[in-house]
């Protein structure tokens, strides 16, 4: 009997989680990169807490964006190289749904750990304790939107040899709104203001990504497989 959609999603998630934990270096690399960038910054700035606090949203979000670009390369590349992505496309199941499951797992493995580890880096940047949860929430939501947007560009660059640079170039313009609203949310959290307005906008981008990105990614992957 044909496998149901939920079971397909579960199997893909289980597979990708298992693969990621068997190759932890690939998992840790973007996270380490983020931690290094975010912890080195305070050393290069005046050790004045108010100044560090001003720079914190920018440092954290640029670190998060660059780190997620690094991680995006692994989203479909390995599966495309060993032919398993091709088998997904020929499985008779919805490729859109399968890529959505892959993208969610990718966020679980890269975006979420990054958001959860951000407070460690944020302490060094003078982010007050009460702003931490809001900052984590904005990074988690923004990271999810980044993964979805990135799925399209990762799909588009599948066919390109050494597509890493192209992937970054294509993703950056699409990621700018996420960066702007995300940094704004973190800034507001640090200042003690309401973070709802930029969070709503981040949420809107994520919802737009949820509805469109998997479809676009599937179309892109089919072209990439040719």
């Amino acid at each position: 009997m044909k496998t149901g959609a939920l079971e397909v999603g579960r199997l893909i998630m289980e597979r990708d989680l298992r693969l990621a934990f068997r190759k932890p270096s690939q998992l840790l690399q973007p996270l380490l990169f983020f931690m290094i960038v975010a912890t080195l910054f305070p050393l290069t700035l005046t050790p004045e807490l108010s100044r560090l606090r001003d720079a914190a949203p920018g440092v954290l979000w640029i670190g998060a964006l660059l780190s997620s670009l690094l991680a995006l390369e692994f989203l479909f590349r390995d599966d495309a190289q060993d032919g398993t992505l091709e088998q997904f496309a020929l499985s008779g199941q919805s490729l859109t749904w399968m890529l959505f499951a892959k993208t969610c797992t990718h966020w679980l493995l890269t975006g979420l750990p990054l958001a959860l580890s951000a407070p460690i880096a944020a302490v060094g940047l003078g982010v007050p304790g009460e702003a931490m949860w809001s900052m984590v929430a904005s990074l988690a939501l923004g990271g999810f939107a980044l993964s979805l947007v990135g799925a399209i560009t990762a799909g588009l660059t599948l066919g390109a040899r050494r597509g890493g640079v192209l992937l970054s170039l294509l993703t950056l313009p699409l990621a700018v709104p996420i960066l702007v609203f995300g940094a704004d949310a973190t800034q507001r959290a640090i200042m003690g203001d309401a973070i709802a307005p930029p969070m709503y906008l981040l949420g809107a981008i994520a919802v737009l990504g949820l509805t469109l990105a998997p479809l676009a990614a599937a179309a892109a992957v089919r072209i990439g497989l040719e």
């Binding site: 044909k2 199997l11 893909i12 289980e14 060993d82 032919g83 398993t84 008779g92 040719e226």
Partner: protein
């Protein structure tokens, strides 16, 4: 049941498929022959829907395959040059996930398929540790497990020993006797397949 008509396909500025037409009915095996670069792989990929032909049509059960893509793919098993397996997973895990996303599959069915292709003794080892021939045996177990009617096999005997080549021929025979269709690009299989195969020569490059 499968009908390919007037398939034209260019790769870059090379006209690879020049109006290929043939049809296959249940129980039939079509062997694609031709020199390297003649377009055997291209034809198989075009049938599978991985390549879009510039002209011509692939029909399955009388309907253009691209119009009912998912239903067509559910009845198709494609095995390319490289076995589609994850190096960090074992053979059993690979089959659990790759077949599991297509249809419900029991552990016993996986064991039986691995046994049939002579892969059960190394099915729990990481793919990275296996030889190319062993990987191919696991991949062949995957083809068996899909339960698909139409098999598209690209050089299925590559890296296999003589035993393995006979195994592929036997699997093809069993499949066609059971009403399946096999389209295979081959170099070494001629003479091994008992059911008189249809030979489609794609000619020179």
């Amino acid at each position: 049941m499968l009908s390919v008509s007037g398939l034209h396909l260019w790769r870059g500025d090379r006209h690879v498929l020049r109006g290929v037409s043939f049809s296959a009915t249940p129980g039939q095996c079509v062997l694609l022959t031709g020199k390297n670069g003649a377009g055997k792989t291209t034809l198989l990929r075009a049938i599978a829907g991985l390549l879009d032909p510039e002209e011509g049509e692939v029909s399955w059960r009388g309907v253009p395959a691209r119009k009912t893509r998912d239903a067509f793919h559910a009845e198709l098993a494609y095995l390319g040059h490289e076995p589609p397996l994850k190096g960090d997973l074992s053979g059993r895990e690979n089959l659990k996930f790759s077949i599991g996303i297509r249809r419900d599959i029991s552990r016993a069915a996986i064991d039986a398929a691995l046994e049939r292709t002579g892969a059960s003794s190394f099915a729990d080892r990481s793919m990275r540790m296996l030889s190319a021939g062993q990987k191919r045996r696991v991949a062949l177990a995957g083809v068996l497990l899909t339960g698909a009617v139409l098999w598209l096999l690209d050089e299925p005997t590559t890296n296999l020993d003589t035993d393995g080549q006979h195994l592929v021929a036997a699997l093809i025979d069993e499949h066609t006797h059971g009403g399946g269709i096999v389209i295979a690009a081959v170099h070494h299989l001629m003479g091994l397949v008992s059911a008189s195969p249809v030979n489609l020569d794609l000619g020179a490059a």
